[in-house]
Each structure stands twice: as C-alpha cells, then as structure tokens.
Symmetry: C2
Subunit: 121 residues, 2 copies
C-alpha cells in the first residue's frame, strides 16, 4: 500500500513562445520509441507537474478552476494540479516530427515539465 | 535528465469478475480527494501496469496489438503496455460510489493494478 514506484522522465516540454510552436523533446536514449509516431495526428502526453511543492501533494480538496467562489471538491473529481501524484494528461495535435522533437499544438503543460509517456490518441 | 520521480499508489483496481462489476478502491488516507466524484459520469484512471518486468521497460519497439504479422513500431506511437514508464490510462463510466470504492464500467486494467490518479473526464 505504501510502496513507491519510480518513474523516469523520457523527455521534456518546451512551451510555445512568440512565433514558436510548442515542442516535446524526447531524450536520445528513447528515440526508437518514436518510430512511426509521425503517422499520428494526435498524441496523449503524460507529464509531471514539476512546479508543485511537495506539500501540494497533500492537498485533497481544491476550488474548481481555482475559483474561490465555488465550494471545494475532492481533487480526484477535478483537473486541479494539486493531487497526490501530479501527473498531467494533455492531448496534442502533432504538426511534425523533427528527429527527437515533436512540434505540437494544444500542449497544456508548463515549460520544462518532465515528460513521462506518450501514447497514440 | 536522469533524475527519478517517486509516485505512490492512491488505491488499487479490482477487475470485474463473474456477476461483479469492476471497482477502484481508494485508500482511506486519500478519501477526501473523492468528494463530489459521485457527480461525474466518466473518470480517467491512471494506473501502474504492475505485472510487467523491469526489462519490459527497456523495450522501445513492439508489434501493434501484439500482432507479429504487423511490423514493429515505437511504443510511443502505440498503446502497448511495454514502455519506459508503464502508466496506463483508462476512461471508465462511474456507476456508483460506495464510500472509498468506485463501482465502474469499462475499466481496462488488470486486477490489483496500483492506481496513481483519478481525474474528471
């Protein structure tokens, strides 16, 4: 029940900037895992919300959308970043692949977020 | 780049059995996180594919759907359980909540899988 599981980042997010699309960079040792990805239109990106503090992982109730006028709810009923395992899920559109970099649209993750997994989606 | 991240199970999967729907059991210390979940129709369940061996995490190419007649592809272009971080995503329909247990449909996870996160979906 209290065992921990170790995950290791496979890459990281580069958020969109002025005139530049968002990118998912996959580290060189995982490059083979991208074979054929260029045929997909959409991908799920699982990432780690690295900007949260350890104490944020103890928060179990939060205001929906951070809106304090709305009553708190359990984090498992929300998309709040506060949660025991702050794993984010974002579905992106793949514009193109450039080697170990995926140029994407609709990437809802902060710059520098460690990427944990990609799946067709 | 090679830092590891620790996740801790918040519960576990009970697969459907004869005459019994699948359930997601949430451990008591995370119960507050479920507040309001009963209002949702669908949930995303993130879980750990605990039956894989450590060496399966090194596999970067696999046959789609395990079908050897189809050429191998990168695991990030697939839903193969083989992947560096074997985190599964399954979208379930919530039938009802019974305290710390969610009775669900369409739970695509093996019995006993550690649950890492739930999100509205």
């Amino acid at each position: 029940m209290t065992e921990t599981i170790e995950v290791r980042p496979i890459g990281q997010v580069q958020a969109a900037a002025e005139g530049k699309a968002a990118e998912v960079e996959i580290y060189a040792q995982f490059l083979d895992g991208l074979e054929g990805v260029e045929q997909l239109e959409h991908l799920w990106v699982l990432y780690w919300m690295h900007e949260l503090a350890p104490k944020d992982r103890q928060i179990l109730r939060a205001h929906p959308m951070g809106d304090r006028s709305r009553p708190k709810r359990g984090v498992f009923a929300l998309h709040s970043p506060m949660r025991p395992n702050p794993i984010g899920m974002t579905r992106v559109r793949l514009l193109r692949r450039e080697g170990n970099r995926l140029v994407v649209e609709d990437l809802d993750a902060r710059d520098g977020s460690p990427v944990l997994d990609l799946k067709s989606g």
